[in-house]
Amino acid sequence: MADVVLQPNRAATAKTARKRSSLHNALRRKSTVAFLMTLPLILLIALLVIYPAFYAIHLATLNKSMQRFIGLSNFEFLFKRETFWLVVKQSCIFAITAVIFKAVLGFIIAHFVHNIPARGQRKWRGMLLVPWVIPPAMSTLAWLWLFDPSYSAFNYTLGLFGAGPIPWTGDALWARFSVILVNIWVGAPFFMIMYLAALKSVPEQLYEAAAIDGANWWQRIWYVTLPMMRNIIAITTLFSLIVTFANFDIVRILTAGGPLDHTHIFATWAFRVGIEGSDIPLGASVSLFMVPILAIAAIFILRDVNKRGNEA
């Protein structure tokens, strides 16, 4: 009898002790601590990113007055619109051109900075980062004044040499050029700083070995630098592609999508349709259209990075 009475208590005590020790072990595990420490950020992201994302999906399935569920009809409607396909084309031109130029310029500038003696390098690094550090809405306003249709400082300068005036924001081609130029100006320093960090991590012995093998300047870049930087190039390109596709402020401030819609990109057209035109479901659908494009790009780039990581 006594055993019978005592046994459950013992079992309960052992269970509690096991529970305590497993909790203790869990807390001692690095991954648990890491999870707990990142929990506030995860909650923040859930609140500010995941919830709005799902809400946008929900909005995109409603009719214009937001009273009826219409499934994918908004997308069906968009696919029939000439302006929508113009926006898709422009977003691709804008993002791909800007990212390529940002990457090339960043790569070149990173090499220049890398070759500056260590003492003076910090100053150059700081100065070159300025366009990236200034809030784009502010720096774009300065660009707007430089490109102003009637009082452009660029045209004034060109006029001194008997050239111009150039319709920076008034002609479709020039307007596209202007918004891409400003985007490159803002974004190239990010590539520069990332590539500079990558360059610094390439072991000097590889260059020495290449020099002994008689490799010239181009061969050293092609066979040593670029393979060593492949992952960082892939990641920065992906990151920049996402940010550039989703750009809003530069185009909005500089051209507001004009002339004749020839500089509209997804975000600016979504704003025009959704907020200014009071058609929020259609605006949400336009902005969601970016997701599959970026998801495909992300899958390919990250798969490549992963593959190389496994090979290493």
Binding site: P149, P167, A256, G257, I275
Partner: protein
């Protein structure tokens, strides 16, 4: 330690007193007995103009025992539009909110009907102009109360000297201060000839062809002068009509005399054009003139605001109206309505118009002849014809008479200026019309 005992008599007396206080509490008017009211007004660009509305609201709040809070929301960066959209989504926000042109219709299902308020105001102030009725009413229901603050006519503001010199037109004689207009000859043909002459003289008319409101409003008025509409009042497509073709042809001729960069103009471009002395005429409320008064007085002294040129189907001028609305989910609708009545009293309206230097334009027929427009200057009388005191022109808005939810799309997407620009850049007329028809079909989705 002494301990005070509560006697039975004391207990009964205290209970009776507390009960009496509790029962009578609602009937005692405290400082804020009528509750709270939050207000989102449009942030006026004229320095000091907000103070007039603040004073009126505070005076009303003190009288009505309401605790008020006012936010002045700028329209720059579409802050006001964003606030209205966010509040409609969240079903929470200001009890009284300023709304531009199309937004009462865009949120018609969520706005508190204002028929009771408007009935009294119309009896007192006279009929609102046709544009405000079109923008503010749906199915016989007033969706919001027309606001004088921010409402404006975007008529021509001409340089007296340059128009005389280059076009041989005396705008002061055509629109004399204090008298009815003598502008029978002020037609779109005269306007085109004047545009050509001023272009030759090196001071082109500053009319933009961009996608912002000033550009769209001018195009709208010119289209209406030809009787051209893309969609009629019943929602039928009327793009491929002779009237639209005539309007497009006219615009093509006009564009040849406008600044070459007009396609990239925004709402600030025309103001800068006038203030810098580069042009002989712009289409704007007196804001450009007011800035010139401060920054370029020699330009301001030569400015004269007047009526639109007449077309074959009449003389139309763009009226951009603001409203004050109350959400159906507002917590203090009665106080909101009471405030809107106060803000729409003639003396309150006059106070706000004076504070805006004559910029604000009430829509009521009895309030277009306030003293401020007769006296503002220099030159004296420059604003006399701004409020259309002789009903010389029909006030309208671009894309009307299309049903407002369709018209909003035509207006926001700047379909009219895009059509003009496409055609002027060499696109065949029928191709431009087909493009516009396709756009308008898309705007009809519900």
């Amino acid at each position: 330690m002494s301990r005070k005992k509560l006697t039975r008599r004391q207990f009964v007396a205290a209970t009776a007193m507390s009960s009496a206080a509790l029962i009578s509490a609602p009937y005692v008017r405290g400082a804020y007995a009528a509750g709270k009211l939050s207000i989102g007004f449009w942030d006026h660009w004229v320095p000091g103009a907000n103070k007039a509305s603040t004073d009126i609201v505070n005076e009303w709040a003190a009288k009505e025992k309401v605790e008020v809070s006012i936010d002045y929301i700028p329209s720059q960066g579409n802050k006001l539009i964003l606030t209205v959209a966010a509040e409609a989504q969240a079903r929470s926000g200001h009890d009284v909110i300023a709304m531009q042109t199309w937004f009462p219709h865009a949120h018609s299902e969520q706005l508190e009907p204002m028929n009771d308020v408007m009935g009294d105001l119309i009896k007192q102030n006279g009929e609102p102009n046709g544009t405000m009725k079109y923008l503010g009413q749906a199915g016989g229901k007033w969706l919001a109360v027309p606001a004088s603050v921010g409402s404006q006519i975007k008529g021509p503001c001409s340089r007296i000297d340059l128009m005389k010199k280059h076009a041989g037109i005396d705008v002061q004689a055509m629109y004399p201060a204090g008298a009815a207009p003598k502008a029978d000859d002020w037609t779109l043909d005269t306007f085109l000839k004047a545009a050509e002459a001023c272009h030759k003289g090196g001071v082109p008319f500053g009319i933009g062809l961009g996608e912002t409101t000033d550009n769209v409003d001018t195009a709208g008025a010119i289209f209406q002068s030809f009787g051209a509409a893309l969609v009629d009042g019943k929602g039928n497509l009327t793009v491929k009509t002779d009237a639209v073709r005539q309007a497009l042809d006219y615009y093509k001729k006009l564009i040849a005399f406008l600044p070459p960069d007009a396609g990239a103009w925004d709402d600030a471009s025309n103001n800068k054009w006038l203030v810098s002395g580069r042009g002989a005429l712009i289409m704007n409320p007196p804001s450009a003139w007011a800035v010139a008064k401060r920054d370029a007085p020699q330009v301001a002294e030569q400015c004269w605001t007047h009526g639109f040129p007449a077309g074959p189907k009449g003389r139309y001028a763009p009226y951009l109206g603001y409203f004050w609305g109350t959400w159906s989910f507002s917590k203090n609708k009665e106080a909101a309505k009471s405030l809107l009545r106060t803000l729409s009293q003639p003396d309150a309206i006059e106070k706000m118009v004076v504070a805006s230097g004559g910029y604000d334009l009430p829509c009521y027929e009895k309030l277009t002849t306030l003293k401020v427009w007769q006296e503002e200057g220099p030159p004296k009388g420059t604003l006399y014809h701004y409020p259309n005191p002789h009903n010389h022109q029909t006030l309208s808005i671009a894309a009307a008479p299309a049903p407002p939810k369709i018209a909003q799309q035509i207006y926001t997407q700047a379909t009219l200026t895009k059509m003009c620009l496409r055609h002027a850049q060499g696109e065949a007329m029928e191709k431009t019309l087909a493009w516009a028809e396709g756009e308008c079909e898309g705007f009809m989705r519900s």
